[in-house]
């Protein structure tokens, strides 16, 4: 299923996650992704994963990038989503007009400065040299730079002048510090390219999101299996109880089938990519619920490290899709009939 290069990338990512994230995951949720971790992610080549090497990128194919996200997600979905957001910045946003942004791209990929962009693009108002407005859902609100659209044609880089109006009580990805902010700053224009007026940054990354969700589902399953083989109740190991063993078996099958599906899809804009994303988020939600349940009372506490998958998978569902709109779009591809709104 994977090439040797891809397998190598996966094991690199796996080692990175075990070494850098396994112990730090809880801290990341509380304190965010600090400069040190950002530097390490950059050094490992994850921040510019799919970017050409001339811009400091790792020149990975999408499959390799997905494998990286999947492995990181098993320990820290927040870090995986952070990597994907950085990739959206350089790979989908700034890269549209590299002549203007090349130096910025290098900064991001090298981890030198911290960057963010709104989860759902909304136009800010450009007024002379200043830019003003509100952004309801901004991850990493304290980043050095913010990239946003001023209007459908104009991308701007904003440094400073971002004020947190309200930190959202965040269900998931707490390390990203999702906030409602107001902006009042000097703007630097970056492009004059016509784009979708309300792009959601994760809309074009169905497969990458699917890989993150898959990583959550796998980690939830692995932890449930490990725990069930060490925890005793009623004179037996949990794993010796048929209903539990059979449930883990069923989910192992579903996860394997999903993994084959996700990595067989070539086109990120296809019906299949959308389906894979919805399927994997749903599976991550269900599997994490089971994993938490297997852990009993312990599962309800952060320090056990499984409840975050329960929160993050539900949060991911909201962050990457408005459910109805996306499903309508995919239904048209499947049925050739437009569902009523």
């Amino acid at each position: 299923m994977f090439s040797e290069d891809q397998l190598l990338m996966r094991s690199t990512a796996r080692e990175f996650a075990q070494r850098e994230l396994a112990q730090r995951a809880e801290k990341i949720e509380k304190e965010g992704i600090d400069n040190e971790l950002r530097s390490k992610l950059a050094s490992a080549g994850f921040l510019g994963a799919m970017l050409p090497s001339k811009y400091g990128g790792s020149d990975l194919d999408r499959t390799s990038f997905m494998l990286v996200l999947q492995e990181i997600s098993k320990y820290s979905p927040t870090t995986a989503l952070f990597v994907l957001l950085q990739h959206s910045l350089v790979g989908r946003t700034l890269i549209r007009d590299l002549s203007l942004a090349e130096s910025y791209v290098q900064d991001i990929v090298s981890g030198k400065t911290s960057w963010t962009l709104p989860l759902f693009q909304r136009n800010l108002k450009l007024d002379g040299g200043r830019i003003r407005g509100e952004i309801p859902y901004l991850p990493l609100p304290r980043a050095d730079f913010l990239v946003s659209y001023a209007d459908p044609k104009t991308l701007v880089v904003i440094k400073g002048g971002v004020t947190e109006v309200r930190a959202h009580h965040s269900l998931g990805f707490r390390g990203l510090g999702l906030s409602h902010v107001s902006v009042d700053s000097v703007a630097e224009k970056l492009s004059q390219v016509e784009v979708d007026p309300t792009p959601k940054v994760l809309d074009e990354a169905s497969l990458e999101v699917a890989a993150i969700a898959l990583g959550m589902a796998q980690a939830s399953l692995e932890r449930a299996m490990d725990y069930s083989k060490s925890r005793r109740a009623f004179n037996s190991l949990l794993a010796e109880f048929q209903p539990l063993a059979f449930q883990l078996l069923e989910y192992d099958a579903q996860i394997k089938a999903l993994e084959r599906f996700i990595y067989s899809i070539k086109d990120n804009e296809s019906l299949e990519a959308g389906e894979a994303k919805l399927l994997s988020i749903d599976l991550a939600k269900r599997m994490s619920r089971i994993s938490l349940q297997v852990h009993g009372g312990y599962g309800y506490f952060e320090y056990t490290g499984v409840e975050k998958f329960y929160r993050d998978s539900a949060a991911l569902e909201a962050m990457v899709s408005d459910q109805v709109g996306e499903k309508v779009k995919l239904s048209v591809l499947l049925l050739g009939v437009e569902p009523k709104i």
């Binding site: 619920r289 009993g296 929160r311 909201a318």
Partner: protein, 367 residues
């Protein structure tokens, strides 16, 4: 032929009013963020008369309405007498006077300490030891996930007082005692970082050579397991009611969302609403049916476990579905808290798995 006495509407209205007034958005978030027991709210609820164990239907309805507005504050406000049924049913007059009365007067808080680190739902697997010493006993052991753990003045504690006669009779030889939190050798450490229900106090208790006077034994020595199971047949109805309140609260929020966003005629939302409302109605009937039997002194453990299991699952189902269809609005609203709070209802006071075993074992025994 209605399942619930009809004269409860007024109390229900009063409970809802209280919760809406006292459980402000600000307080909900404050106690959640500080992971603090809401003593102020417990006191107000007591003064308003909601902790009235002589009116079990009233307490049930209050729990439902409180949890519908906020589960964490609601449970803390009404669980100050946690475990009292054990004393009411099995305790001596001395214990009733010394421990139950001040709790019912709102002066003290009680806790119920059964679960241990190595034995979750498997009560018979606990390892705490109660050993005779002179005229009294000495208690050693640990308890985990104990509600009211950092705020209770005393606990009803289960411990092993003699070894099990055989592996099949592991539930023999267990005894319940009352232990005060001020006694030497007692230690309670708050367990922070819960997924939800952060306004409830949850603690890890340690007992190191705690001296327990003989008169603090509840009922008979060796019958502790039976008392705990009897208690669960009562407390599970309260837990089912918590879950019912959570589910109803999430359904309320989802309905508001539909109306506020003009989605009344959209089938996706209609189907989701119908699914949720049907389950909530079923959970309510199951809960009231089990409560009705209990309050008539004819509890049916099968029906009680069914109510607890179904209502817990419903709370998770409804909060999940509501969250799914309210997107970022839902995820950044009070609904996300309900989603986190709900999950414990499938775990505490007997996991879904334990409830299923109770249900089927008793059904098969009847045959």
């Amino acid at each position: 032929m209605s399942l619930i006495p009809e004269n409860l509407d007024e109390l229900r209205g009063k409970a809802r009013e209280f919760a809406l007034r006292e459980f402000t958005e600000e307080k909900i978030r404050k106690y959640e963020e500080e992971e603090k027991y809401p003593e102020e709210i417990r006191r107000k609820a007591f003064e308003a008369g909601f902790l009235d164990m002589s009116n079990p239907w009233g307490m049930l309805v209050a729990m439902e309405e409180f949890c519908r507005v906020d589960p964490g504050l609601g449970i803390s406000a009404l669980s100050a007498a946690f475990g009292s049924e054990v004393i009411m049913l099995f305790g001596s007059d001395y214990l009733k006077k010394k421990y139950l009365e001040p709790v019912l007067k709102g002066e003290k808080i009680s806790g119920f300490a059964v679960t241990e680190p190595s034995a979750g739902s498997d009560v018979a697997g606990i390892r705490s030891r109660l050993e005779r010493r002179g005229k009294g006993y000495v208690l050693n052991g640990e308890k985990i996930f104990i509600t009211n753990g950092t705020v209770a003045n005393h606990f009803y504690v289960l411990a092993r007082s003699s070894p099990p006669p055989s592996p099949e009779k592991r539930h023999h030889g267990m005894t319940m005692v009352v232990v005060e939190s001020s006694w030497p050798g007692f230690e309670a450490e708050q367990m922070k970082g819960k997924l939800g229900m952060r306004a409830t106090s949850t603690a890890h208790l340690k007992f190191r050579d705690v001296e327990v006077p003989e008169e603090n034994v509840i009922g008979e020595e060796g019958k502790g397991f039976y008392y705990v199971m009897t208690f669960f047949d009562i407390s599970r109805i309260h837990v089912a009611t918590q879950a019912l309140g959570i589910a109803q609260g999430a359904l309320d929020m989802f309905t508001e969302y539909i109306i506020n966003n003009g989605l009344n005629n959209r089938e996706t939302y209609q189907f989701a609403l119908a699914d949720m409302a049907t389950r909530v109605h079923a959970a309510r009937l199951l809960t009231y049916d089990a409560a009705d039997r209990l309050f008539k002194f004819a509890p049916d453990p099968v029906k009680t476990s069914m109510a607890k299991y179904f209502a817990g699952e419903t709370a998770v189902y409804v909060t999940d579905l509501a969250l799914k269809y309210t997107g970022m609005q839902g995820v950044t609203s009070k609904l996300e808290k309900f989603y986190r709070d709900a999950k414990i209802e499938e775990i505490w006071e007997g996991t879904n798995e334990v409830e299923k075993l109770v249900i089927s074992r008793m059904l098969l025994k009847k045959r």
